[in-house]
Symmetry: C2
Subunit: 148 residues, 2 copies
């Protein structure tokens, strides 16, 4: 479990960014803050459906779009083309396991070392993705290689 955040605090954060804090918007943001698994839209939808039985998936899409446009969350593009979400938009990289699809945060120490090609460009966002195999999956692969 992640550090608890009260719905009041979550509402204040939304208001501070100019988003009216509805129940759905509070719950979506709170879900992302408390479940740092970089969930897909459908994962968030299914989790919140338990608490809000009338919930529609369009509301999740709308809410995530609003939160993202205000910089409160981050979009992560997966190799499968599915978008995943991160409630902590501070600068860091994302590792993705090509086998199980898990996404893991990785710290970045220095500013990106761009040399040339940026002349005239207005860079507003930076995203660093690493791909490979997580600990569990790389161990499984070793075992299956030994067998074959």
């Amino acid at each position: 479990m992640q550090p608890a955040i009260t719905t009041g605090e979550t509402g204040d954060r939304l208001r501070a960014k100019g988003i009216k804090p509805s129940v759905i918007r509070i719950k979506v943001l709170q879900y992302l803050l408390e479940n740092r698994v970089h969930p897909a839209v459908d994962t968030i939808y299914r989790a919140l459906l338990k608490e809000i039985p009338t919930l529609s998936k369009t509301s999740i899409y709308n809410t995530l779009k609003a939160l993202n446009s205000k910089g409160m969350i981050m979009e992560i593009m997966t190799p499968g083309g599915e978008i995943r979400y991160d409630g902590y938009p501070a600068r860091h990289a994302h590792f993705m396991c090509l086998k199980c699809g898990a996404i893991k945060d990785v710290s970045l120490s220095c500013a990106t070392c761009l040399t040339h090609g940026t002349e005239g460009l207005k860079v507003t966002e930076e995203a660093v993705y690493l791909k490979g195999y997580c600990k569990k999956c790389s161990e499984k692969l070793k075992i299956s290689n030994r067998k074959s």
Copy 2:
């Protein structure tokens, strides 16, 4: 126009990676080597359709998947979720214009400065994306801001 590459040379490159050089595979690779615009599948398809009237889009998908699996090309994930392709898989970053969708190569000088979170991970690929506005689009935005 980019430096010309003969179909013979392109065929040799394919053979060297264990891909039998068919007409389609040669033309797709050659298109990516000669048109450094990071095209989408559909862009490649429409361009080659002029030369191969019976071409099917599935063949483009199949070919790109084969070339990518052998590390001969690079996949680029766009914010819109569309996959674009780069015929030069050497290490570099990609800048994407959020307005016009253009993708531009940017050099990276240092190795990625990962600090912690990589313990136990087998990292096989790294992708650095920059987003923002290209020269033309940022100039247009300035003008429209002045008007409003």
